[in-house]
Symmetry: C2
Subunit: 278 residues, 2 copies
Amino acid sequence: MTPDRLSLNQWTTRRWSVREAVDGCVRHGIPAIGLWREAVADQGLAATAKLVTDAGLRVSSLCRGGFMTGPGLGLDDNRAAIDEAAALGAACLVLVVGGLPGVSPGGGPGPGFSRDLPGARARVAEALSVLAPYAAERGVRLALEPLHPVYCADRAVLSTLGQALDLAEPYASERVGVVVDSFHVWWDPEVLTQIARASGRIASYQVSDFLVPLPADPLLGRGMMGDGVIDFGPITAAVEAAGYRGDVEVEIFNADVWAADPDEVLATMKRRFAATVG
Amino acid sequence: MTPDRLSLNQWTTRRWSVREAVDGCVRHGIPAIGLWREAVADQGLAATAKLVTDAGLRVSSLCRGGFMTGPGLGLDDNRAAIDEAAALGAACLVLVVGGLPGVSPGGGPGPGFSRDLPGARARVAEALSVLAPYAAERGVRLALEPLHPVYCADRAVLSTLGQALDLAEPYASERVGVVVDSFHVWWDPEVLTQIARASGRIASYQVSDFLVPLPADPLLGRGMMGDGVIDFGPITAAVEAAGYRGDVEVEIFNADVWAADPDEVLATMKRRFAATVG
């Protein structure tokens, strides 16, 4: 995948505001950006839309909606996220579906806790049935992101690409797609088969490496491509073969990367992207 | 599952020797024990066999062979493990197949490191083709244990029950079986389907809970049943429905459990087993 498809997911340079990240992309010749709602809210939605348009950047995704497994299925917040994705012209809205009810991300069981995993998964399907038409009316493609099974309890009961594709199946592929994130799916014995099955339905390809050993907080176990154990070649080839022609986001949650000079991070990212993914 | 099928996996009371663990089982009316090779070596193989026989305990498993993904496929050590399982009359020899070549358990990439995950998986199949006949001649049932995907790089490239069943398929079910360990498989959207598929091939059912958040070392994230997020009922029912009539091992890797008085651990274990699994 060529450098003209490289996208900076702004969480990789988390300390940068939207404006700074946009400027960084321009400075480094990166043609696309993945935005986060929190950062967009800080910058202002209209101001963000103007910044990316003026800079000529594509918005490869908005992160993130989801968290549909609790009371109310998160519908109000997800409708707001869809509206924001529409305003930004984002290629998709990434959905991190949420963990078991009553388990906070990174935390333990709290009020409302339930061990009913199939029930939580059914809630996701239910929320999707409400949100998919809403998104379709606004021209927003939803992107279901399976997360590594280590996050099943607290962040996403959606754990494999196969499961995401089953969930997406009732909907047109241009309306409900899936995210292939190397960190989350590299271990899956079915990964290449399921990427092939996802033909036409891949809404986003995100890359970061899987570090071994994981740090104390497994959320921060993502590394720069080449620093971990993932063999990107076969995954990238499968994503290409499945017809994905969109941007490739580098999304890294990592304390060292966040502490580094963001301009150096972007320079490293471009080099590593070319060496491992591109 | 009734208390007469409860087994103490001796790693749960890790500071106990084989002799102490056997005595503990007798004291608490636990009819079976899962042994670990390191502890058996410390006690002596013949002495261990005599201790369990004299105590009237069943040996529900010997842990563990495996680690077949490196040079030499670990064949010599696995043959020794099979011989030990035969001498102990163990119901099965648990195989933890190993991670990527050159990645040490709990460590990072080292000499000989390779990112070739399909290659590592092929080595497991190759090692199994050599070890299965050796085990069959000695009347030992091999038990392939899928580990949680968080351990894919450093401990087991075997990550799902479906994958374990595919690997076992060429062999008679009484020769090569699979382990269902609640900690490792609870998150899998296919778990109940694959347990049903495993009918006749379940060699061991191990239980412990999945703690959230995980501790800094994810290896120690197992808790006493009821302390984590697993709903044991459906898994146990599926294991029963698949025809498993063997012992149910409680296998807990947890710093607090290891620090506690082992007699209290056994008392708690019996209570929790009845409340959640039995």
